[in-house]
């Protein structure tokens, strides 16, 4: 090992490396931890000169083997995880080559990159706290290269000081640095299965989704939120039915629907913040408008992002809930009557009977709802698996199902009865955080409902689930289902029925929401607003001026404080001596004239106030020892001087002289 690099610096580096790598372990293959442990132990042995550096062949084998391991783990090298794994591997294996300060630095710098990479996978507040801790350790490890002895306390103090002093400039840069779009596309974090809606639906899908306590999105309303019964968060409209699965009907290329125009009154404004993920469609309360350039209107009151947006997405919406939904094309209406195949004969027969019996579409809808109401259906999370004729099997045999069973079979019945109908998926309800004044929508609020076309009225929302289990909509899925076995068993949501746990959870969520709103989702639009409020107007001069103020001023203040020619701190002995002088002045009125030495003052005391002279003589002696004889005897003299600050008179405590 290089004699230049202090041994303590190696220890600090290993520690920092450990702190940087360990939190990534859930993302990385587990065996990398083992590789790190082996390499670190090896290096430690090298440092203590017990072992030597591995030969070129051993190093090559180790690198090749690990790279192969990464390939085995991920099946590719270009994904985000394998790239991060490779970076970590480089940080780990470089240890076996660390001979010079240069290598030492390379590892340190790469460690900073590893800290950054963790933010690609984890962006909550604890991740930031962890990163601060990691940064402190790295800064300490970096300083360790410049200290002969490891001084943890001093290093920590300096590292914290550096970070604290960096805050004003950092915040300003964060606010003002232009947010441009991605320069080229990067591999996205994969691996973890995305929870959420897909654009296809089969019986049982939403029931599965409902088991998840994960947050889907948050909504903050301007003003009062609508009643729970109105919170139907529309995601996708599924019109294509192949006899078993529901899916989206692709829009013809030439048809570009224009976004609905909202009436002037009763507008509802709110902001939706989607949790990180890949977002292809956005949730709104119809009829809604989203004014954002990267989001298109997809027809049927759906809002689609293309290409898909990633990460956390925030958008503001204006909605008018009362507006009639009468957007329609003949072609679509015809498609909404299709029930392909010959399956589900009993359901078709039932629908035919309604078609004969009732002339108006509204009556047929009512008949179907009555059928559901009277059929002793059970609303359950664990419906039995249904066979080929799934609608028949559900309607006439099992009669146990979740919202998609009700909505799906309702749409099937309506189409068979000659009423255009389609399936809508999204979320229903949500949990209102009263303190934070926003709504939390969880995956467990996922819902499916139906829409039927009524001449003269347009699209009407029909929720057959509500007919079967009215509480589902009034109280939310969680209130209704929490008694059922398996519902949200693993998630903190299961604690919802404890008041304190609920409060705590909502409080934490409020914090997270503010975090998401102001930090994670800070984008060019927010930036513009913030800068405008801060600077009045956005111009180059103003931004530069602000940079000067935010970046330069704190720097100048810090520089002033640290570099101001400090009044040379008075040494202890001088302080004690002055105290003694003051005491002398109080008691005898004697003071040292300008230029008087302690000796001269002492002579004055002997002449004019001899009873104080023994004490002051001793003060002078101790003071001189402190000044002119550095070393062990000075410490003793300093202690004596400290006692002597408080004077004594020769005649009453003269014995002290002999101590």
């Amino acid at each position: 090992m290089n004699s230049e690099t202090p041994r303590a610096a190696v220890g600090a580096l290993l520690l920092a490396q450990f702190a940087v790598i360990i939190p990534l372990i859930p993302t990385l293959p587990l065996w990398m931890a083992a590789v790190w442990a082996v390499v670190a132990a090896w290096y430690w042995k090298i440092v203590y000169a017990a072992w030597s550096f591995p030969g070129a062949l051993a190093k090559f084998a180790l690198v090749a083997l690990s790279m192969f391991g990464i390939y085995l783990q991920y099946g590719q090298w270009l994904g985000l995880e394998p790239m991060v794994a490779t970076l970590v591997l480089a940080v780990v294996l470089k240890l076996l080559e660390m001979k010079s300060r240069r290598d030492h630095y390379l590892i340190l710098l790469l460690c900073y990159a590893v800290v950054a990479c963790r933010f690609l996978f984890e962006q909550q507040i604890p991740a930031v706290l962890l990163a601060i801790f990691q940064l402190l350790l790295l800064l300490i490890a970096q300083q360790a290269m410049y200290r002969q002895q490891m001084a943890w306390r001093r290093s920590l103090r300096l590292a914290s000081l550096l970070l604290l002093q960096a805050i004003p400039l950092m915040l300003f840069l964060f606010m003002a640095f232009p947010r441009i779009g991605p320069l080229w596309s990067m591999p996205l974090p994969g691996g973890k299965a995305q929870t959420g809606m897909s654009d296809e639906l089969e019986f049982g899908d939403i029931a599965d989704l409902s088991q998840s306590g994960e947050l889907a999105f948050r909504v903050s309303f301007e003003g009062e939120p609508p009643a729970p019964e109105q919170l139907y968060w529309r995601g996708l409209v599924l019109e294509e039915f192949d006899g078993r699965r529901w899916s989206r009907m692709p829009l013809p290329r030439w048809e570009r629907p224009s976004a609905p125009v909202l009436g002037p009154a009763d507008l509802l404004n709110y902001t939706v913040t989607l949790e990180p993920g890949v977002h292809k469609w956005l949730y709104t309360l119809p009829v809604a408008r989203i004014n954002r350039s990267d989001i298109d209107y997809g027809g049927d009151y759906q809002w689609l992002a293309r290409p898909a947006l990633t990460g956390r997405l925030q958008y503001s919406v204006e909605s008018r809930l009362e507006q009639r939904r009468d957007e329609l094309s003949r072609q679509r209406l015809a498609a909404n009557l299709r029930t392909p195949g010959v399956a589900n004969a009993r359901a078709r027969a039932l629908a035919d009977r309604w078609r004969m019996e009732y002339t108006s579409a509204a009556d047929r809808v009512a008949a179907a709802l009555t059928f559901f109401r009277q059929g002793q259906f059970v609303y359950t999370l664990q419906p039995p698996v249904l066979g080929e004729d799934n609608v028949d099997a559900f309607l006439f045999e099992s009669r146990q199902g979740f919202c998609e069973h009700y909505a799906g079979s309702f749409v099937f019945l309506m189409r068979a009865a000659g009423v255009p109908a389609r399936l809508v998926v999204g979320y229903q309800g949500g949990e209102y955080n009263r303190d934070g004044r926003y709504l939390l929508v969880h995956q467990s609020d996922a819902h499916a409902w139906a829409e039927v076309w009524l001449d003269g009225e347009g699209w009407r929302r029909v929720d057959p689930t509500q007919t079967v289990a009215p509480d589902r909509v009034r109280l939310g899925a969680e209130q209704l289902l929490r008694g059922q076995q398996g519902y949200l068993g693993q998630s903190p949501l299961s604690l919802r029925h404890f008041e304190w746990a609920r409060d705590l959870r909502l409080y934490m969520d409020e914090l997270n929401y503010a975090w998401a709103k102001w930090v994670l989702n800070y984008d060019d639009q927010t930036q513009e607003g913030v800068l405008r409020r801060l600077l009045g107007e956005i111009s180059v001069q103003r931004v530069l001026l602000a940079l000067l103020i935010f970046g330069g001023l704190p720097l100048a203040v810090i520089a002033g404080i640290t570099l101001w020619p400090r009044k040379r701190a008075e040494s202890k002995e001088l302080r004690y001596y002055r105290a003694a002088e003051r005491a002398l002045l109080r008691r005898t009125g004697l003071r040292a004239g300008p230029g008087d030495t302690p000796g001269k003052l002492l002579r004055k005391v002997w002449q004019q106030a001899p009873e104080w002279a023994p004490w002051f003589g001793e003060v002078c002696d101790s003071f001189e020892v402190c000044c002119y004889r550095p070393g062990g005897s000075a410490d003793q003299a300093l202690r004596r001087l400290k006692q002597l600050r408080r004077p004594y008179r020769a005649n009453d405590r003269g014995s002290e002289r002999n101590v």
């Binding site: 900073y112 930031v128 002093q165 400039l169 991605p182 080229w184 810090i558 040379r568």
Partner: protein, 316 residues
């Protein structure tokens, strides 16, 4: 081009830093530049910035800005580590050419602790000094090779500090008012002959068989060979035997006796003779062009003789 730049740079530094014997480092003498590590750090930040832009990841942005701000703040801390440091040039012991001279340097940490000060002369070994407390004093010996006789001036002192993070290097190049006497390298090219007859090289020599003239109290610096050991053994103290030395048998080390040698070789030879005489306890005189030293013996005489040899010919 590069050489011209370097020359200009040196001239500029020289103008700013006249030779002084003591100084306190202030902003006019301290220069700060990014070190190679700092350039690497900058490249890393740039890479992370790209990562942040491409992933639109605000936390990575934050990290980049934090590290950038830290590096800005570090300018201050790097500067503080040198600012206010007091340096004082100490003396240095004379050496023979070909040896390594050591210049003493006194450092006073002043009101702050100082970490990892790297001191060196240009292209010489670096000495590292650390004063972890305020008000500390430190004395360093800075090595510098003495290649030729004369007065040695080591040139600019380089004082460098990368503390705390190594991304910036802060340096000062004070010119200290420093010199060290370098004696000629002793080379015995002609033998020292102690016989008067053999003439060559030594104009006159005193024989040990000279007439004995009595005892005198021993003086320090006299050859131990002259000590009258019998008297010492009897407990009468140290006496030395004195011999009558006529003017003819005084040992004069003469420049002119070394014909056929170059100037430096003559000086080297004379130096070797001086040392030889001193070792053998022979009183010697020295004659070089323009200078004569009457014979004598002892450290003071030795130093004076060597000094003459070192500075002969107006060597500064």
């Amino acid at each position: 081009m590069r050489a011209a730049f370097r020359r200009r740079m040196n001239a500029w530094i020289a103008r700013r830093n006249p030779p002084v014997s003591a100084l306190t480092l202030q902003q006019n003498r301290i220069f700060i530049f990014p070190s190679s590590v700092g350039l690497g750090f900058g490249a890393l930040l740039l890479g992370l910035l790209l990562l942040a832009i491409n992933y639109q990841n605000n936390l990575i942005f934050m990290l980049v800005f934090a590290l950038f701000s830290v590096s800005i703040i570090t300018i201050l801390h790097t500067y503080i580590n040198l600012s206010g440091l007091r340096i004082q040039a100490g003396n240095s012991e004379p050496v023979f050419a070909g040896e390594t001279a050591h210049f003493h340097l006194h450092l006073d940490s002043g009101s702050r602790p100082r970490y990892q000060l790297q001191l060196s002369f240009a292209e010489q070994r670096t000495v590292i000094c650390e004063m972890p407390r305020a008000g500390q004093h430190y004395e360093l010996r800075m090595p510098y090779p003495a290649t030729s006789r004369g007065r040695l001036q080591p040139g600019r002192l380089q004082l460098r500090s990368d503390f705390p993070l190594g991304i910036l290097r802060c340096w000062a190049m004070p010119m200290m008012d420093w010199h060290c006497l370098v004696y000629p390298r002793p080379k015995m090219l002609r033998p020292l002959q102690s016989s008067a007859d053999s003439g060559e090289g030594v104009s006159a020599a005193r024989r040990d068989s000279d007439e004995f003239s009595g005892f005198e109290r021993y003086r320090r610096g006299e050859s131990p060979r002259r000590i009258f050991w019998k008297a010492y053994a009897r407990g009468q103290g140290l006496f030395s035997k004195q011999y009558e030395a006529g003017s003819s048998d005084r040992l004069i080390l003469d420049w002119d006796s070394l014909e056929g040698l170059g100037e430096e070789d003559r000086l080297s030879n004379l130096c070797a003779w001086v040392l030889e005489c001193e070792q053998r306890g022979l009183a010697y005189g020295l004659r070089v062009p323009g200078m004569f030293m009457p014979p004598d013996l002892g450290p003071a005489h030795l130093n004076a003789a060597l000094r003459v040899l070192a500075l002969w010919g107006g060597r500064a």
